[in-house]
């Protein structure tokens, strides 16, 4: 998994919780990398899961919610780090439609070893869209948070119905029903 996810996660923990919490979970999570992450590196996604589980036990918030929150946070960071992805994009439906065909392609250019999830969009009508997530990593809740963050970014009142699917394990597949309200 790309290092930027780790560095951003630590950032989030530091800003949403505290530097101490961040230190505590890194210290106790028994990480092969020792917790020294750089956005250029690539690390096992199990380390994120370990960190999430540690954060959950420290904060008392369940891991899926933590993933969701992280996703929401991460989307805001994307806008800061990669503003080019947002050029001329009008709303979340348009942005999400471009993820698979455009953004993931760009990601691969920057990180040739990246293995992003498969994201399939089905535009039902002006206000409805169906989004299918499939990955070998169990980050469907993270995707949920990202979608939420997307809606917030565009200032939309986006209702997201999260439907977990079995996939290859818990959190590896999901369907999201998006409704643009108002």
């Amino acid at each position: 998994m790309k290092g930027i996810i780790f560095t951003e996660f630590i950032e989030m923990v530091e800003s949403r919780f505290s530097v101490e919490v961040a230190e505590q979970i890194i210290e106790t999570a028994d990480l092969p990398s020792g917790g020294s992450y750089t956005s250029l590196g690539t690390y096992s996604h199990h380390e994120v899961l370990k960190l999430v589980i540690k954060l959950s036990s420290v904060s008392g918030v369940n891991p899926a919610d933590l993933q969701f929150v992280f996703g929401e946070y991460l989307f805001g960071r994307f806008n800061e780090v990669h503003p080019e992805f947002f050029d001329g994009v009008q709303g979340s439906f348009e942005f999400l439609s471009k993820v698979q065909e455009y953004i993931h392609v760009e990601v691969r250019k920057l990180y040739p070893e990246a293995n992003p999830p498969t994201l399939t969009c089905k535009r039902i009508d002006e206000r409805h869209m169906e989004l299918h997530y499939a990955s070998h990593r169990p980050f469907a809740p993270l995707a949920f948070g990202l979608i939420k963050g997307c809606g917030i970014h565009f200032g939309e009142n986006l209702t997201i119905h999260y439907e977990p699917l079995p996939g290859t394990g818990d959190g590896t597949e999901a369907r999201f029903h998006l409704t643009l309200e108002g």
């Binding site: 917790g35 020294s36 250029l40």
Partner: protein, 483 residues
């Protein structure tokens, strides 16, 4: 957070930084190597492009060269073609001139040959009995040589015409008697000279008139007879048999054709040579020509002519057992429009050496010819048959003479004369009541077919070509004035 924790954090951050630097270095190096690779690849590509370009250029160059070579070849071919065409046109012209020249030569040779042959045959008759047998024999040889010369001239002329594709056929109603009489005239002296027996045998049911090309028929038969005499040794015999025979065209239809059969008791022709002797310049054996002479044109022309007359020329022969050449003419030859005006002899006619005809009794004839040698020869001939011959050198002289001499029973008129030609004379003559019924025989050395029509249109009663054969001329004269 305590100092220790900060220290740890600091260490971690440092490790992360080093890691990042290492990754960055690796990436940079990777980029460098990739770049190097790309550069190399680009260079190789450039090299390849250069190589390919050079190859293409050389190929192109070669193509241009071969195109130029091809163009040069093409030009050369065109030039050669052009030259060939010019050459062909030139050759055609030359060939035409050659034919023309031969035609002229033939015409010019005929006139002197005419007098030569007539005079020689008169001398050979030895009416006055003042020639020794050796002298008579010599004269016969003179006649025969002249005759051969005439044939050679005709052969050469015909071959050149055949080559130029100008050999033509003109079919008309002719007297069958003219044919065999003239042949008898021509070959009887040869028969005497060679001491070879000669007979013409006519079957009893022959028509008086036949429809064919007079000149060509005579030419074929002369050729066959000349050959027969040439290849028959002393004491042998040559026969011309004329009869009708069944002509087959398919299975359902049969009719009668006319057959002229020339049989000799000569050296014969081996079976394997039966076809080749009909080819141009071929004789049965290359040495034959040295021993027996001849141009080797005769049989080739004869067969060609026979086929042009829609008939054929066939051969039956065995070596040392003589040969029989048969000229077969189609049934149409027997269909004529001319009515019989003379008595048709229904008997089997056998013509042999002695020809018994009653001489004339001094009937007067006017002979008009600007060629004095011809006039002399003809007058000697006619006088030897008992006619009284008056001569005129020009048309005007003839007209003047006729005004004053009303006893003339027959006019023999040469067609080609300067100032006033034969036709002109006839027009003047027929314009006068007293001469309207005078029989006129027109003579010409020209080989043009239109001449006969011209003569007849001008009012001629009869028409003969030079050289005239004695028997034919006498036969024609006899049909206009009775002995």
């Amino acid at each position: 957070m305590d100092d220790k924790a900060w220290e740890k954090r600091y260490e971690r951050e440092k490790a992360a930084r080093l890691q990042a630097e290492k990754i960055a270095e690796e990436k940079t190096r990777e980029i460098y190597y990739r770049n190097l690779e790309l550069k190399k690849l680009a260079e190789t590509l450039e090299e390849q492009v250069k190589e390919r370009t050079a190859q293409l250029e050389s190929n192109n160059h070669r193509l241009v060269e071969s195109r130029n070579t091809l163009r040069t070849h093409q030009y050369e071919l065109q030039e050669i073609n052009q030259r060939l065409q010019e050459k062909a046109a030139e050759l055609e012209k030359i060939s035409h001139h050659k034919s023309q020249f031969l035609a002229n030569v033939s015409h010019e040779l005929r006139t002197p040959l005419n007098s030569l042959m007539i005079l020689a045959s008169i001398l050979a008759e030895n009416h006055e009995g003042n020639l020794t047998s050796d002298q008579v024999h010599s004269v016969q040889i003179i006649f025969n040589s002249a005759n051969e010369l005439l044939e050679i001239i005709e052969d050469i002329l015909d071959m050149s015409k055949a080559e130029a594709g100008e050999l033509s056929i003109y079919q008309e109603d002719i007297l069958l008697g003219d044919i065999w009489r003239s042949l008898t005239d021509q070959f009887m002296p040869i028969s005497k000279e060679r001491e070879v027996d000669f007979e013409v045998i006519c079957a009893p049911n022959l028509p008086e008139w036949i429809h064919t090309d007079r000149k060509r028929l005579k030419q074929i038969l002369k050729n066959l007879l000349a050959n027969a005499f040439k290849f028959t040794p002393k004491g042998g015999s040559v026969k011309l048999l004329i009869h009708k025979e069944t002509w087959r065209v398919g299975k359902d239809f049969s009719s009668e054709g006319l057959v002229f059969q020339v049989t000799d008791s000569g050296i014969g022709i081996p079976k394997d040579k039966h076809e080749s002797i009909f080819h141009m310049f071929k004789q049965a054996d290359g040495s034959t020509s040295r021993k027996y002479g001849g141009t080797g044109l005769g049989l080739s022309i004869s067969r060609k002519l026979a086929r042009m007359l829609e008939g054929d020329l066939t051969l039956e022969s065995k070596k040392s057992q003589g040969s029989t050449f048969s000229l077969i003419l189609p049934p149409l030859t027997l269909v004529t429009t001319e009515k019989s005006i003379r008595n048709v002899n229904s008997e089997f006619i056998i013509v042999s050496e002695e020809d018994i005809t009653e001489p004339f009794t001094g009937q007067e004839v006017l002979l008009v010819d600007d060629d004095l040698r011809n006039s002399f020869a003809l007058s000697r001939l006619l006088e030897s048959y008992g006619l009284k011959v008056h001569l005129a050198e020009s048309g005007q002289q003839a007209l003047d003479f006729l005004e004053e001499n009303k006893r003339i029973e027959l006019l023999i008129l040469d067609m080609m004369m300067p100032v006033m030609d034969g036709c002109e004379v006839l027009k003047h003559l027929r314009g006068k009541v007293e001469f309207r019924l005078m029989p006129v025989i027109m003579l010409t050395a020209s080989m043009l077919k239109d001449d006969e029509l011209l003569c007849r249109a001008a009012g001629a009663d009869d028409y003969l070509q030079k050289p005239v054969e004695i028997r034919v001329l006498m036969d024609h004269i006899r049909s206009w004035i009775s002995a």
